[in-house]
Amino acid sequence: MDLEYQLIIPEFVMAGLAVVIIAAALALRNVDQKWFGYATAIGLAVIAIVTAVAYWDTNDDFGTVLAVDHFTVLFRVFFLGIAFFTVLAAVQFAGDRLKNHAEFYGLIVFATLGMMLLAASRELLTAYLSLELLSFSFYILVGFNKLNPFSNEGSLKYMLLGAFSSALMLYGISLIYGVTGTTTYSAIGPDVVEGTRNIAEQLASFAGGSGGVDPDGARPGLLIGLVLITAGLGFKVSAVPFHQWTPDAYQGAPLPITAFLSAGGKAAAFAFFLRLFSEAFLPAAAEWVWFVAILAAVTMIVGNLMALQQTNFKRLMAYSSISQVGYLLVGIVALDAANISQSQDAASALVLHLIGYVTTNIAVFAAIIAFYNRTGRDDIVDLRGLAERQPFLAFAIAAALFSLAGMPLFAGFATKFIIFQAAFNNGFLWLGAIGVTASFVSLYYYLMVIKQMYLYEPEGSDRERFHVSRPLAGALVVLVAGVLFIGLYPTPLFDVIHSSTEGLFEQAAALSAAVMGQ
């Protein structure tokens, strides 16, 4: 078997980077720990740039397990970017409040590696293992602040529920494998068409006890598998009702990790979600779309309602990110087996919203990290008077929160508009309406945060203005600019995304062409 290892050089380099960082820390004990952070960041940036330049035109498969196409490359760069900003934001935080810095950065790199592999996987086993690589890194990272009981507790809950969800997903995968005899996405696709044909009919005939089960077509096992996979993925992306771990993990984790979790973890899970559902399960869209739609609706509603009651900023962001998952799921709902170009647009819309959301979220967290570095507090009321003490941070947080609420000028508006339009276009007016209403509700709690920053005077003993370290401030400026750019002129980004999602639908397009031809 001929394997083209040059396709996955970036992954190897990533692993190497992590190992080098960890090993270097063992060797260089007297070096200021922050240099490990900056070295990691530089490494990530270099890998990102080189990957983007060297692989953009690649469209090839590594064996049957990985696909290195535009989608992969886009997400590679995307994840590297996320990691880059996370590391940059984390440097001072880690230096002040954490130990084992090199392992901290190394694990971030490993998690990023997991994300990259996840986005590239075109086969369920590889995808599952990549997901676990990612999850394991996060389990550790969430509990990284090991003397802090919150951190520890978040990690414990995350780990247990994560393992449970993996088991659910694996069972689903096993059923899919049992029915189709393969775990490769592209091979599942055609079988799915066969397997889910008239499932309702089959179930009815089975329930009727007529014994008239079509011997070669009755495969509700496939549907159960799909539902279980969706449920497992629901856990990973923290969709309601599988979201219980999210607030705890978010609140417990060290702040940069909360940022990374909410940005990278979610983005990776959705990259997987998207590739799986568009390459493998798209033909059966009619069978699962209702399930995902309900999931999306419940997620949007519950996420936002729960967020209303929060007093801790991290917890607020956790519920906020849950509701964002609802919006992202709308993009999955908009996939349409009958209309491939609509599906591709929906997928692109999803990715666009994802990128917008991630940029925004990292911006929020970078700002909060800068605040936390100074104050060590993360309740919403602690933000009081931030506009006086550090207007730039307050502005960045406000802008990002408005973006999350879907207000114009910022990324959230345009991307949400597009993603809801995708759902409307696919006949899910009610879902879009729920989404719009939910984001209206979300404005309330974002405003509560903004109010604290702008309305009140600083309180407590520490009311001085303070400085944000240069790299962090620079990162924030870039992020906020990104949020504005996506909000005002998403077209170029969308074009890039659109060209990257093309590959996801080649198979489906061929299939539907074949159906047309019949």
């Binding site: 802090n148 009981p149 951190s151």
Partner: protein, 402 residues
Amino acid sequence: MVLSEFAGVSMPDWIDALLRIIFIVALMTIMAFALIYLERKILARFQARVGPTRTGPIGTLQSIADALKLITKEDVRPITADRWAFELAPYMAFVPVFLVFVPMPFTETWFIRDLNLGLLFVFGVLGLNIVGVVMAAWGSDNKYALLGGVRAAAQAISYEIPMLLIVVAVVMVAAGRLAVDGDASAAGSINSIVGDQTTTPYILLQPLGFFIFIIGMLAELHRPPFDMPIAESEVVGGYFVEYSGMRWGMFFLAEYTALFLLVVLASSLFLGGWNWPFGADVGLGLQIVLTFVKTSVLIVLVIGSRALFPRLRIDQLMAFSWKVLLPFAIIQVIANGIILAYGGADWVVGLVSFGLLAALGGLVYYIMRRKQGEGARTVQTTPATPRVITAPEVTPVEAGGD
């Protein structure tokens, strides 16, 4: 199959199976008795004593006398012990060892079954006996028993890893050599590995492997100098401190059987098992003799080490496994992989392995020198506090910033 061939008659399967079981039980018992006797004798010689002399000719029936004593002894169960765990533990410790007999080649044709995955089987099954140890430790409701059990488990698991890696390295070598004959996939079978050592015992190819295997074996068996789990002066007697009578005997039996089996395995893997080292195809009778000569040498080595070496500390023991043996085992596997992948000759494999062994020796020597240089004041005489048991009630840390 084997026995029926030996007997020269064909018989139904169930009789065959029964015969094999009887064979195993008999062999195991005999070996255990012999080993107990041998150990007492050899140790006594080391200590300038004579050992048992009264029972039977030069004390040869001593083990049987011991067994009789054990059988007639009252079986006591502490009142606070957990009934099920306590009662079942000896069996859990005993049965896996019993199973390990299955793939052991005593001669070219004398074994119960030539499993294709024999090596994996040995380690997979043998590992289970630690469950019995832990059950005993916990079920006894005795602090020392628990300590001993925890130590035993930690030790067993720690040394299992380098041992397994070394077995992997051996299998790699064997597979490379067997592939020449056309069937590399047989490398998992112990008998095939032995069969390959007609002229070259693998101790020449994998001297480091042999070293690590023996060390690991000692640790697995809780033999001195790695006997902390059952050290009387530290934990009174370890996990079976509360046992008496035949149940205690079963633990002992299991231990000696395991010793015998591992020694057979070591001789099969590294010393050529039933092979005459100079390539002549010897007959069945001589094969048995060869096997037993080789195992005996190893047995004397094992028993002798009890008399020769002082006991380590538990932390030294763990550190030695994780920080010395494991890295060297990994390096050995990688080195084998590289050499074999590029078709290196056997002598290269052997040389590299020997080089690694020398490096290991040098490293250990260097560390010991440095430790001595640091002076006596750093020597700890007590084991690390067993905090796992005495961990105080920790009040939750006050909520606050990270």
